[in-house]
């Protein structure tokens, strides 16, 4: 079943179109990677889904219903949680407070329940429990990424949008982050993952889309993308699978 679907999505920034009639879908429980070079429109796609891009044509559908034109606050309440590029952890709030605020989309959630779920989330990420009273600005890149993902999961999303989770992280930390992504996926959460590091992204994804200047270049399973020499040379760094 198609949980998230983009139909002919066009996004305009200033004079030019950043996305040009993009079609893609993510099935329920699937992990889909969105790949491409800088400026291909990957992050804009996620921002458009989350209601952060005002000038859109085409449609964005969540479980068959259009969410295009809704405000970000409404979209996250419908179950789309966005972990943006740069982590965007609130610097003046503690790790615990940051994670707790991830549940802001869930109306009627009692404070005690929110606290219990925050404790559980802190416990499921190595190190975060011990860092729970640390302020956001004191964290390292890897720790910030963990907080951002944990905060995104507190929304209990139907779809998790992950934007460049490996950006600026050391290889060992990247492995750690992608183990978490694989774990999220194995628990049944649908994931749309934007990544420049195609190698790690396709290691966890069920399918991939490769974008080029706002257009879909090719789509397929990871092994199909790896076997496409044009794609491999231009967008996947020529790495062997």
């Amino acid at each position: 079943m198609k949980l998230l679907e983009l139909q002919g999505l066009t996004a305009r920034y200033g004079a030019g179109d950043v996305l040009k009639g993009l079609d893609l879908h993510v099935d329920e429980g699937e992990c889909v990677a969105l790949l491409g070079s800088n400026g291909a429109g990957k992050s804009t796609t996620l921002r458009a889904i989350s209601g952060l891009v005002p000038n859109l044509a085409g449609d964005i559908r969540l479980a068959g219903k259009s969410i295009k034109g809704l405000k970000s606050e409404a979209i996250v309440r419908l179950g789309v949680s966005h972990v943006p590029e740069g982590r965007r952890v609130f610097p003046g709030l503690t790790v615990r407070e940051n994670i707790m605020l991830g549940a802001s989309n869930r109306k009627g959630l009692r404070r005690a329940q929110m606290n219990a779920e925050t404790d559980e989330m802190l416990g499921s990420f190595a190190d975060l429990g011990r860092l729970q009273h640390a302020l956001g600005w004191t964290l390292s890149g890897g720790q910030l990424q963990m907080v951002a993902v944990a905060r995104g999961l507190m929304a209990k999303p139907r779809v998790l949008l992950l934007d460049e989770p490996s950006l600026g992280l050391a290889p060992l930390i990247v492995q750690q982050v992608f183990r978490i992504v694989a774990d999220i996926r194995s628990r049944g959460t649908t994931v749309l993952l934007v990544e420049q590091n195609a190698h790690v992204a396709l290691s966890v994804a069920d399918r991939g889309y490769v974008l080029e200047t706002g257009r879909l270049l090719v789509t397929g399973k990871p092994e199909e993308l790896w076997s496409n020499p044009q794609v491999r040379a231009a967008y996947l760094g020529g790495l062997a699978a």
């Binding site: 989350s50 970000s72 609130f90 989309n105 929304a155």
Partner: protein, 291 residues
């Protein structure tokens, strides 16, 4: 020594008013990125509402005060709708200009509706005050200090101990991220405007029995509170409080020991000294440009 202590008491009382208005400034800077030059008008309107409800309509004093505060909170939302909302996506400067325009409009509106005559209102308590050692603690100054302290504590509890406070802080730190988490950013900003207007109004209500209530009240309080904000550190809550208190003490001591007519000049000299020597203020970060 007795005189010095007396002056310190008076200075802290006046400084508490500056601190309250400066707190309103800081909250809006932090939540909405807005430097609101209408903050002094909030104090002026609060004082005039007290005059209307208590002097003219003869409502009981505390009813008049509560009604004035409630109206000021609602006014904050209207003010946000008029000055901030239509320009919120156009950067800081247009909003600043818009709040300056609104402050001129409000001052002149009151002048047209009420006339230039200054009004006086009664203090919170009938008793003149209490003598503590060499210091006579005037009841109105004492009320100002107690209420300002309670408001600062209340603000601390709201911001640090409640989920609403955390959402307000998150909104002030990164509005887009807050909206991605489902925090109603518009509501958070309107709440901040309402709160900011209410504490501005309270400052006006508190100072009304000490100073005559006139339209001139607005600009002088706004300028002092803005100076307090710079002295304390741009956008810093403890800085606004300490900056306001320091300003009140400096201008009171300056007036007593050097020159009464130059009372206001001491406050601005202090501001100039900070801008030259420590531009980031007492608690602020080093900045070259803000807002």
């Amino acid at each position: 020594m007795g005189i010095l202590l007396q002056l310190l008491f008076t200075g802290l009382g006046i400084g508490a008013i500056y601190a309250l208005v400066a707190l309103g400034f800081v909250l809006l800077i932090r939540a909405a990125g807005v430097v609101n030059f209408g903050q002094g008008e909030f104090a002026m309107l609060g004082a005039y509402l007290l005059v209307i409800f208590f002097n003219l309509l003869a409502l009981p004093y505390w009813v008049a005060i509560l009604l004035s505060i409630a109206i000021m909170a609602a006014f904050g939302v209207v003010f946000a709708g008029a000055t901030y909302w239509p320009l919120r996506n156009r950067g800081g400067l247009p909003v600043i200009i818009s709040t300056i325009g609104a402050s001129i409009f409000l001052e002149n509106m009151v002048l047209v509706l009420y006339g230039p005559a200054a009004e006086q209102v009664d203090g919170l308590f009938d008793a003149p005050g209490i003598q503590v050692g060499p210091v006579f603690m005037d009841s109105q100054y004492l009320s100002i200090m107690v209420i300002a302290t309670l408001l600062v504590l209340l603000q601390y509890l709201i911001f640090e101990k409640t989920l609403l406070g955390k959402k307000l802080q998150a909104t002030s730190q990164d509005k887009e991220m807050a909206s991605l988490l489902g925090i109603p950013v518009a509501a958070m900003i309107l709440i901040t405007f309402a709160y900011s207007s209410a504490i501005g109004g309270i400052a006006g209500i508190l100072i009304a029995p000490i100073l005559f209530v006139s339209t001139g009240l607005a600009s002088i309080i706004a300028l002092k509170a803005f100076a307090a904000n710079i002295i304390g550190g741009y956008g810093s809550i403890p800085g606004a409080i300490l900056g306001g208190l320091a300003l009140g003490v400096v201008e009171t001591l300056g007036a007593a020991y050097i020159s009464v007519p130059y009372k206001d000049a001491f406050a601005f000299l202090m501001l100039l000294a900070f801008l030259l020597i420590r531009p980031q203020g007492l608690f602020g970060e080093k900045i070259s440009e803000k807002a």
